[in-house]
């Protein structure tokens, strides 16, 4: 009598469809995945430990490197948590630019998601198109901060500097043209029979299971849960903007694809509203204990130089207490829990990465699927290992 046995297969960490250094140990019955065990930690850099030894200001560049596909979102969450501890108000112009950049980061992240997700499933054209559009976001990063990825642009109390005059036109041109490009992607994918065969009914997770396992962001909304922190627990001035929150119905990969595409269109609308609101004004709070002095004062007066030196070397003391600040990052809820002991360094900084918790659902979503569909599930969860491993 013929017998069959299960095969154990190692996938990754050096595998293009695992989006970084994710390793999966698969147990296969033929082509059916019977068990999937993720193995993570290849990119662990000890960001939380490092933060305990740096001033609040020096932690900011570390956050750029968490979700490196949307660095500004990480900056935003951290800076809001620090500002909550300090209880300082941010000028309106700084707030508006923060929202513009946070939504640009969402577009940037979702463009990479659609590019790689489609490439994994076999649609290569979308990859080339989406990376062309993403390039504009990278140029905007370069325009405002000088770096294409590690922006390090926000400061407690506002921004590191005002945006250059050409910023407004560049962003406006981008959000005016992007919906047309999104139509092109949808034309390539939405009614494409191969795309539908690969995504409809793939990676189904019910709303109850999604909440139970802690899914957040587009993965949660794809399962039909109407929850968006930007609307439901507004932060950073999101309450001033009107936008729709898309939700899925069938809880599958196709619905999550639709949700993210609508999210991109809504992000464009938020950016347009923000650009219309953008008025001249200061971009840093009037709070000399925390904020760096303007560069003219540092270069031209001894008081300014001392002031700059004091903040750069000692940092600023942050009141004792603990806060949690969650933001709706492109991949889900990114949370920062800071415990301060009243000194200029965080006593404990906990980063709650959305991808880490979302990846946990992989086992539930991929067990019983074909091995090729597993790749689609990894793509639809949209994980980035930089923030999983920290």
């Amino acid at each position: 009598m013929a017998t069959t046995e299960k095969m154990t297969l190692n996938m990754g960490p050096q595998h293009p469809s695992t989006h970084g250094v994710l390793r999966l140990i698969l147990e296969l019955d033929g082509e059916i995945v019977t068990k999937v065990t993720p193995d993570i930690g290849y990119l662990h850099r000890g960001v939380e430990k490092l933060s305990e030894h740096r001033t609040y200001h020096q932690v900011l560049p570390l956050t750029d490197r968490l979700d490196y596909l949307a660095p500004i979102s990480n900056n935003l969450g951290y800076i809001l948590a620090v500002e909550k501890l300090l209880a300082i108000e941010v000028p309106e112009r700084a707030q508006t630019i923060r929202i513009i950049m946070a939504e640009m980061a969402r577009l940037q992240s979702h463009l990479v998601w659609i590019a790689t997700h489609a490439l994994d499933i076999g649609a290569m054209t979308v990859f080339l198109y989406a990376f062309r559009e993403r390039e504009v976001v990278m140029e905007t990063y370069e325009l405002i901060s000088g770096a294409r990825m590690t922006s390090n642009f926000f400061r407690a109390g506002g921004l590191s500097q005002d945006v250059p005059p050409e910023f407004e036109k560049k962003v406006r041109d981008f959000v005016d043209t992007l919906p047309g490009y999104l139509d092109v992607y949808e034309g390539l994918l939405t009614d494409n029979p191969i795309w539908r065969k690969r995504t409809v009914g793939n990676g189904v997770i019910s709303a109850e299971d999604a909440i139970e396992i802690g899914l957040t962001g587009p993965a949660l909304r794809g399962s039909g849960v109407d929850w968006d922190q930007r609307r439901d627990t507004p932060y950073a001035g999101y309450e001033k903007y009107s936008f729709k929150v898309p939700v899925g119905e069938n809880c599958d990969t196709f619905d999550r694809y639709k949700v993210r595409l609508v999210e991109m269109r809504e992000a464009c609308k938020i950016i347009t509203q923000a650009l219309n609101n953008l008025k001249p004004g200061p971009v840093l709070a009037d709070c000399p204990q925390v904020c760096y002095p303007p560069k003219e004062s540092v270069y031209n007066s001894i008081e300014g130089l001392i002031h700059h030196f004091k903040i750069a070397s000692e940092g600023y003391a942050v009141p004792e207490g603990e806060v949690y600040q969650g933001v709706e990052a492109p991949k889900g809820e990114l949370g920062y829990y800071i415990v301060s002991d009243g000194s200029s360094k965080p006593y404990r900084l906990r980063i709650r990465p959305p991808s880490f918790v979302n990846l946990q659902a992989l086992e539930k979503m991929a067990t019983g699927a074909m091995i090729a569909d597993l790749v689609a599930v990894i793509g639809t969860l949209d994980v980035v290992l930089g923030e999983i491993d920290r």
Partner: protein, 162 residues
Amino acid sequence: MAENNRAVVRLKEQFPASILDVTEFRGEVTVTVAKNDIIAILAFLKQSLQYNQLTDVTAVDNLGKAEERYMMVYQLLSIPNKDRLRIKTPVSETDGRIASATQVWETANWLEREVFDLFGIVFENHPNLTRILMTPDWEGHPLRKDYPLQGPDREPYKGRLS
């Protein structure tokens, strides 16, 4: 005020002996509870008060600052009520054990593995309590305050030289 918070009122009714402290800071309510009742309290919050999502589980090492060395921190979110709550519970250094919240939320699985990995707190009845970020043969628990930043067997950290 924190005392009037709906969840705090109900918790005080239900578990009068286990509520050690209630604080509010920057609009966030934190309830410190006794370790023995943690699972009952989390389950009560989930089932009766609609705190349906466990956002985060983590720990803080209060070495030399508090009587009980570790503080477990659970961040809860109520999607229907758009409300957050933080539950904390102290764990002593000599004991170093706490019941696993995986029986209440599946989310706790990896989050508790991370706490075990980086703090060395043992979770009882956890389905798979192994290291998650560090390698399986790693010695020590890096997020403990007495673990050197540069790693073991190296010169201690003397501050940034630049």
